[in-house]
Subunit: 331 residues, 2 copies
């Protein structure tokens, strides 16, 4: 591999000039700069990243730690982050924490070790390792879920309100026994969606009962089990609020297995407007979350914080949109 010295020798200048020319510093004679660039391409010179980062004490990279690569909600966030980051020359590396505090902590360590410029993460639980980032002074932004006990920039969806509206919609449609399938306790979005569900029941002077509520991982398998449990109890629900689209898959499977028809026998609203939500029969009513914006806003906040880590922490809350389709339309 060619180094700056090689390029310098070839161009007949010093290494300092090579560095300045290649980094577009204005204090280089245009003719020299041209010679340097020519020498660099002739030698196929690729700067040594570690050396550069070592000296600069920072890499032009932001780490994005999400809890599930296979969840379209998070990949949409990733796209939002990428588009903004690339505009200003940052690369994005995606890390999959798999909803595990330990993997999350490991990735945070790696991010610190590699001296990335900043980190965007959706914290998997309350016991996050972000304290290490704060201690080290690395810029970070939480997305989708808040970071209890740290005042950092946060970008959220008003998911409690959205859950409340979705539930209110089911009530308005005349459903009587509305249940809820949400994510694990301690995951903030899961708790918020449940809280919003209860808010709506309370506002309508309905009693909420634990019998109609189930929790599981944010995955199809868990939701499938949960739905079966709900459906086989003595007084099954006649409507369900489901906390994400992976879970919706599990629930819909359970419904088919038991021959329950969504919309007619069971009202359904689910979080996340998956591309296939309109295609199932009946089309799914959903709460569409602005995932891409979540990512792009978070990225912009992160860039601002990289530039100035003393700025006050902000909380941005984006709204979600209920899209009523046939699955919540009572005949």
């Amino acid at each position: 591999m060619a180094t700056v010295s090689d390029v310098a020798a070839r161009a007949g200048v010093s290494t300092a000039t090579v560095s300045r020319a290649l980094n577009g510093k204005p204090t280089v004679d245009p003719e020299l700069a041209e010679r340097v660039r020519a020498a660099a391409t002739e030698l196929g010179y690729q700067p040594n990243g570690p050396a550069r980062n070592l000296r600069r004490q920072e890499a032009a990279v932001v780490a994005l730690i999400i809890s599930d690569v296979e969840n379209p909600f998070f990949t949409a966030i990733a796209r939002g982050v990428e588009d903004v980051a690339h505009e200003v020359g940052y690369s994005v590396v995606l890390c999959n924490s798999d909803e595990s505090a330990e993997k999350e902590s490991r990735y945070i360590d790696i991010a610190i070790q590699e001296r990335v410029a900043g980190v965007i993460l959706s914290p998997s639980g309350p016991a996050t390792a972000v304290a290490k980032l704060a201690a080290r002074g690395t810029a970070y932004v939480a997305v989708d879920r808040p970071l209890s006990g740290h005042d950092s920039d946060v970008v959220l969806v008003d998911t409690r309100l959205a859950a409340r509206e979705a539930t209110a919609h089911l009530i308005a449609q005349g459903y009587e026994r509305i249940g809820c399938v949400t994510g694990p306790a301690g995951v903030r979005t899961a708790d918020d969606r449940l809280a919003g569900y209860r808010d709506a029941l309370k506002a309508a002077r309905r009693r909420s009962t634990p019998k109609l509520v189930r929790r599981s991982e944010y995955k199809a398998a868990g939701a499938h089990r949960a739905a079966l449990e709900l459906l086989t109890q003595p007084e099954p629900p006649d409507a369900l609020l489901i906390a994400n689209s992976a879970m919706a898959v599990g629930v819909l499977q359970a419904l088919r297995e038991r021959g329950v028809r969504a919309g007619r026998d069971l009202g359904l609203v689910t979080f996340d407007d998956a591309p296939w939500a309109e295609l199932v029969d009946p089309p799914l009513s959903v709460v569409a979350q602005p995932a891409y914006e979540l990512g792009s806003v978070a990225a912009r906040l992160l860039l601002a914080r990289i530039a100035d880590n003393t700025r006050p922490a902000t909380t941005t809350t984006l709204g979600a949109r209920l899209i009523a389709r046939a699955s919540s339309h009572r005949p």
Copy 2:
């Protein structure tokens, strides 16, 4: 940030000993090693990655360059790669080339600059920048799509055969005018699926006509347009082979808009067994690709090549499985 010297001072040893102790070298007195570890945790020492990589001339990282993070097929590959890489202490960074040769090339440059140990990529087209990897001696493996003109390790699905079988299945079901919606020309999987489709027609002594074939990006929007074109022509197809699940979404939308019922009016087989494929009405017949294995096999090959870059190039071809559901069942 604490450095080795700080830890050394605190533990009352030299930096060499610190490094040896923390890297688990056997030539350190256990008692000293313990003291070093204690000092390191007390100081919250995190090794400086760039410095380490600079010295080692390589980072314990593999880059995975895929063409669409939002495509579940590729995220499943990512999981396969991750699981294998993590087992042996490598981190995986995911890069989204977005099917653009330019982004792909940029990520390859970054991978080289950062001195990653290896690269796994699904080449976006024939004009890839992998030559740079070869020139530099960085280990790499192609996944899902071959790399024309380079003899590298490749992990593929026998997608041509799978397309042939899927088409044969449609023929066997009695469909007469079978069409195909595939990806862009030059993308190998797209071309192969089309070729397999033609193979099946030829084997059944049917004429294939360009009128029943459309190409577009591997995305819903393009497939939607393509399907509308196919359906509105004078002699529309009575069955379709669709080259991936994102496209299937677009096609199914088009069908609803035109009131065409899958299975009854139009036979349908699509590539990729999306989680929702069973849930649409009628359930979609699919070609299930072993995406996770694709990733894990590629990762294992990459590790082998990192250990020994002179080993001969191999080609691994995995099979796909046709899952016939109602959408291809002629009444």
